[in-house]
Structures are given as C-alpha cells and as structure tokens.
C-alpha cells in the first residue's frame, strides 16, 4: 500500500515540474566579505594560539618570545587590514585624484576627515606584517639554534 502511494507521488512530481532556483549567483562584494571574514578567522586563530601559548606554554626561551611577538604583530596587521578594507569600501571614487603624471602621483583628496586619515595610516600595513614575518623568521632561527646546540651536546655526551 505504501509502495503504491510512493509510486503515485513520484509520478505526480515527474509529470508536473516547475523552476527550482537551486543555484544562487554571487555578487561582486561577496569576495570582499569572504576576504574580511578570512581576516576575522585568522585573527581569532591567532588570539586562540596566543591564549594557548600564555596559558600552557611549551617553553620560555627567546624562540617562543619571538613567536609571540610575531603573532601579536600578525594580529595587529589583521585588524589594520580589516579596517582598511572596511574603510576602502566606504570611500567615494572622488577621494582619489589620479593626475596625468601617473598612478604614483595619486592623491587622497580633501576633505581629509577621520575616515580618510585612518585609511591613509592603515595603508602602511607593511610596517606591521614585515616585522611579523621577521620575528617569525627569528623565532624559527632560535629554534634551529637551540636544536643544533642540543644535538651537539648529545653527540658530545654520547662520545664521552
């Protein structure tokens, strides 16, 4: 009986189709939003990692200190870029004047309100991300040096 009812229903749906509209299209701002959400996701991950490093540290040497500094700088960079991305979306096309001399002579036009000033300063995000990657490199170097010393000491101890 049930089988019969199921069969009848199937026949009904097949013989009376309509538009499904299952696949949605994505507009241009979606990429920016995804990018900004990725920044938030990245920031949350860094905060989580910093929390763990403070709460349950694996070590206290210079390598870990550099690692923490690097993470803090990455966090700040994320915040900075998020703000810049946010503000960039709100700036009008007239905010930038591109003279005939070329792109390099672009000017952030008046009025220089807080938004524009913050945007301008925020555009120097390299001042955060470059030290961040430098500290990461330093941290890894310190780790490598520690391991080398330890291995040499073990080797020396083993020979003795």
């Amino acid at each position: 009986m049930n089988r019969f009812i199921k069969f009848i229903l199937c026949i009904f749906f097949v013989l009376s189709p309509s538009l499904a509209l299952a696949v949605q299209t994505h507009g241009p701002p979606e990429g920016l939003y995804v990018h900004m959400m990725a920044h938030i996701f990245f920031s949350a991950a860094i905060i989580f990692l910093l929390y763990l490093l403070y709460k349950r540290p694996l070590g206290t040497g210079p390598a870990w200190k550099h690692m923490k500094i690097s993470l803090i700088l990455w966090l700040l960079w994320n915040i900075d870029t998020f703000i810049v991305h946010f503000l960039a979306g709100g700036l009008p096309y007239e905010a930038f004047e591109i003279p005939d001399k070329g792109f390099l002579h672009t000017i952030l036009a008046h009025p220089l309100d807080a938004k524009r000033i913050i945007y301008y300063v925020g555009k120097f995000d390299n001042l955060l991300c470059v030290p961040a990657i430098c500290f990461l490199a330093l941290s890894l170097k310190s780790f490598r040096d520690e391991v080398r010393e330890r291995l040499m000491a073990q080797k020396a101890g083993g020979e003795v």
Binding site: H35, I46, L49, F96, T106, N126, V130, I133
Partner: protein, 523 residues
C-alpha cells in the same frame, strides 16, 4: 596640494611586499632546517607547515602587490584588474589555511605533551638504568676489590698452611676413599723411611700398618659413622722394615651426601717417646728393687750367716749321725743358695756405685768375654757370628761391669738356644747420636709378646727353679743405665740385617762414646 600624496604608501607597500617575500623564504629556510635536524619532531613539523602557509600568504600577497605596481608602471592597465581577484582569493585561501593550521595547534600540543611525557618516562627509565648501571659498576668494583682481598687472604692462609704442612716434623697425609695416599709432607715421607714424598704418594696406607686389626679399627673409625679417630696409637712398618710407633689423629672427608671422600691425618712419632717411657719405667723398677734388695740383703745376710755358721758347727759335732749329717748338709746347701741370692741382691743394689771409669774398648770386652765362655759354648753346638766394627770409638765406663753385661747377655742367648744355634754379635758406631751399639742376638725361639714387658723385671726368669736368680738382665740394665746408655730388646728384631741373619731375639745396648769432657775426667 589638494590632498595627501599616496606615494609613500605605494613605496612602503612595494618595499614591504618585496621584503615579505624575502623574509618568508628565510623563515621557510629555518623551518626546513629544523625539520631536517629533527624530522620526527611533531612541533617542528607543525611549524614547518605553518610556515609554509605563511610563506604562501606572504608570497601571494607580496607578488600580487609587486605585480600591481609593475603592471601599472609598465602601462599595462588591463592585466592587474584581471589578476587582482585571483591575488585576493589566494590571500584569502592563505589566511584560512594559516588559521586552520593555527586551530590545529592544540592537537599538536597534546601530541607534544604525550611525546614529552613518554620522553620524560623514557628519560627517567634511562636515568634509573644509568643509576642502576652505576651502582652495579660500583658493586662490581667492590666485588672485584673484595675478591682480590679474599684471594690475598686465601693466598696468605694457603701459604701459612702450606708452610705448616711442609715444615711440620710430624707426619701429615691425605688419603682417597680407597685408602691410597694422595699427599704427604716431606718430613712424613722421611719418617716412613723414604727419601722423596712422591715415592709414598699412591701407596696403600694399609701397607704401613704392622697389625691388620689396627688398620681395620682406623678405617672403620675414619670412614665410618664416627668420622674421626683421635690419639690412636699404632705400629707402622718403615721402608727398611723397622718399626715406627705413631699416634694418629684423623678426620674423614665427606661430600654433601655424607659419603666418605677420603681422610686427612696427622701422626706423631712416638718411637722415641715409647723408648724413653720404657726406660723410665724400667729405671723406676730398678730403683725400687735396688732399695728393696739392699734392705732385704742387709737384714737377711746376718741371720743367714749365723744359720750357716751354726749349721757347719752342728755338722762338725754331729757328723757321726748319718741322717742328721745329711739333713745339715741340705740346710747348708740351701743356706748357701740363699747367701748367693743375697750376694746377687747386694751386687745389684751396689750397681749404682760409681767406680773408677776408664776408657773401654767394647770390641775388646766382647773378645774377653768370648774367651771365657767359648769353651762352654763349644760344649753345645753354638756358633758365634761376630760382626765387630773396626776402629770403634772408646766409651767411658767400668770395664768389669761392661764385661758383666756382655756375659749376661751371651749367657741368656745360650740359655735361649739350648743345645744348638747361632749367637750373633754386632758392634757399630752411630756418628749422629755419638754412641756405640752392641747387639747380641740369637736364633732361638724368641720371646713371647706377653713376656716382653717383663723381661727386665727383677726375679723374672724362664729358667728352672734354682738355676737362675732372675736378676741377670735387671742387673745388666742397671749397669747400662749407670753408664748413661740404653738397653732394648726386640723379638723379632727390627733391624733387617738381623732378620736376614735369621735372628729371633736381639738385645741392643747403646753406650755413649767418650766426649772431650769425659777424656778430661778419665785422665
């Protein structure tokens, strides 16, 4: 100016992006080094992959930014707008990758903690193992030291006992369960009459026992339930056939099952002791008898003289009456026998009298005595075998007394032989003891063992009643003792030469030769 120039922003952006690419490669290099150094380390592996994501982020971002400026400055305006979404998308993917990897950190940390715990456990086990090894090494060193100390003590002890074994003048020997000698000290071998102890090793201990019963008693005690024997006096046969008196103390050696594995024994030479003891006993007897004899002789001599005098007077008065005269003659005869005994006793009691001592040649004494009794010996078929050593040293003594001793001994031998036989006479000099030895032996029936202890006793005789007084040997013994000598009787003889000559009984008289002091005294 109508605003702020963006040139510093672009400049910093360009340089920063370039630096980011370079530094991310540097970081990647360090991460790769770390992973290479310790490829099994979870943390380094995690950092390597995190760094990879960072590098991807930095490179995608850096290249994007750099290319932007390159294309714009090169006047290619259409390319960057086309590439920008890809660069941004790559950045987004890189962010997410880094974030995902970061969130993965707690798992890595748990793994690290687990590994660290295991490592700590292993390190602790390793530490304990090292500690145990160190303790074992110390123990081993201590053990080695103790072994060395014990070995040294053992060597000292062994040396001590070896010295005792080798140096002892007593006989020390070890036997196997079958009674074969497995080891003996050199002095012991010499005591048994062998030059080297190796001659004795391997010999059956039983073969040294003179009496089988002694061996059986010894073996039963040592290898039996008792397991030992103490101060057991036995008679041993030496290599030359002579007798050795020993006092043995022995222990049976047993294994874990209690079976006899052999014996160890120490034996003391009693030969000299026995000789001295016998002499002492004999001397004591002589002294006692001497006193007794002197007293009896003194008391009886006068009444006997009176009895004899009156008997002779009565004989003169009553010689006519035949029966009475015969009775009186019997009384006179018996009284004279009594007088003779008393005279002998007096002689014996006076034997200790220190007469004048002169240089005496023992060989001459023998010849003189033989000259006197040769006729008597020839009456029977008694052959005298003389073995007198030439150049025999002189002794200091009383010539007559020495002759009397020789006379007594030859008469005794004659009596023992009866009608026929051989009397052997030897004289020899023992340079070690500085004494001369006179041996008078006979081929007679020998002296029964039960009588051997009484042979020097006063009034002991095997002659018929009236024929002997039993004082001859006693008197001889006393005379020899007075001369500082010794007298022994062996039946059968110990000396193989005498045995070879067929002698059954031998009397040995040992007399000291003249010393320098004696010469002065004699002169």
């Amino acid at each position: 100016m109508q605003g702020i120039t963006m040139l510093p922003v672009y400049l910093i952006d360009f340089l920063g992006a370039t630096t980011m690419i370079v530094m991310s490669l540097v970081a990647f290099y360090y991460a790769y080094s770390l992973k290479t150094l310790e490829p099994k380390n979870v943390l380094w592996t995690y950092l390597f992959w995190l760094c990879m994501a960072m590098v991807a982020l930095s490179v995608s971002r850096g290249i994007g930014h750099v290319l932007k400026y390159v294309f714009i400055l090169a006047g290619i305006h259409d390319v960057w707008p086309f590439l920008a979404p890809f660069s941004g998308g790559l950045n987004t993917v890189a962010f997410i990758s880094v974030a995902v990897l970061t969130f993965y950190y707690p798992n890595v940390r748990d793994v690290i903690e687990l590994v660290q715990e295991e490592a700590q456990r292993l390190a602790e086990a390793n530490r304990r193992l090292k500690e145990a090894h160190r303790e074992l090494r110390i123990l081993n060193q201590t053990l080695e030291q103790k072994v060395q100390e014990r070995t040294k003590e053992l060597q000292i002890s062994e040396s001590k006992f070896r010295g005792l074994f080798q140096g002892s003048k007593d006989l020390i020997f070890f036997c196997d369960p079958d009674g074969f000698i497995t080891d003996i000290n050199q002095s012991g071998a010499e005591l048994l009459g062998y030059k080297d102890k190796n001659e004795v090793i391997g010999m059956q201990l039983r073969s040294f026992f003179s009496r089988t019963e002694d061996w059986e008693t010894y073996y039963k005690a040592v290898c039996g339930i008792l397991g030992h024997i103490k101060d057991f006096e036995v008679k041993f046969k030496k290599a030359d056939g002579s007798t050795l008196y020993l006092m043995i103390t022995a222990n049976g050696l047993r294994n874990a099952q209690g079976n006899c594995q052999g014996s160890e024994a120490i034996a003391k030479d009693l030969t000299q002791y026995k000789r001295v003891l016998n002499q002492l006993i004999q001397s004591e007897k002589m002294v006692t008898v001497g006193h007794l004899a002197a007293g009896v002789a003194h008391e009886i001599n006068t009444p006997l003289g009176i009895i004899l005098g009156y008997t002779q007077l009565l004989e003169e008065d009553l010689c006519d009456i035949e029966d009475v005269c015969e009775t009186l003659k019997i009384i006179e005869k018996q009284t004279k026998i009594c007088k003779k005994i008393v005279a002998e006793l007096l002689k014996f009691s006076r034997s200790t009298y220190e007469g004048e001592r002169t240089e005496v040649d023992l060989n001459k004494c023998v010849e003189e005595v033989l000259g006197i009794i040769e006729h008597s010996l020839n009456m029977d078929v008694i052959y005298v075998m003389k073995n007198l050593e030439k150049d025999l040293p002189l002794i200091s003594g009383m010539h007559d007394k020495i002759c009397q001793v020789i006379m007594n001994l030859i008469n005794n031998a004659h009596h023992a032989l009866g009608k026929e036989g051989i009397i052997g006479i030897w004289t020899r000099y023992n340079a070690d003891k500085k004494e001369v030895e006179l041996i008078i032996a006979d081929t007679g029936p020998g002296v029964p063992k039960e009588l051997q202890g009484k042979i020097f006793d006063p009034f002991f005789t095997t002659k018929e009643v009236g024929k002997g007084t039993g004082l001859g040997l006693t008197l001889s013994y006393a005379i020899v003792s007075d001369h500082g000598g010794e007298m022994e009787m062996h039946s059968p003889p110990d000396d193989p030469i005498l045995l070879k000559a067929g002698m059954e009984t031998s009397f040995h008289v040992f007399l000291p030769v003249i010393k320098d002091d004696d010469n002065e005294q004699v002169s």
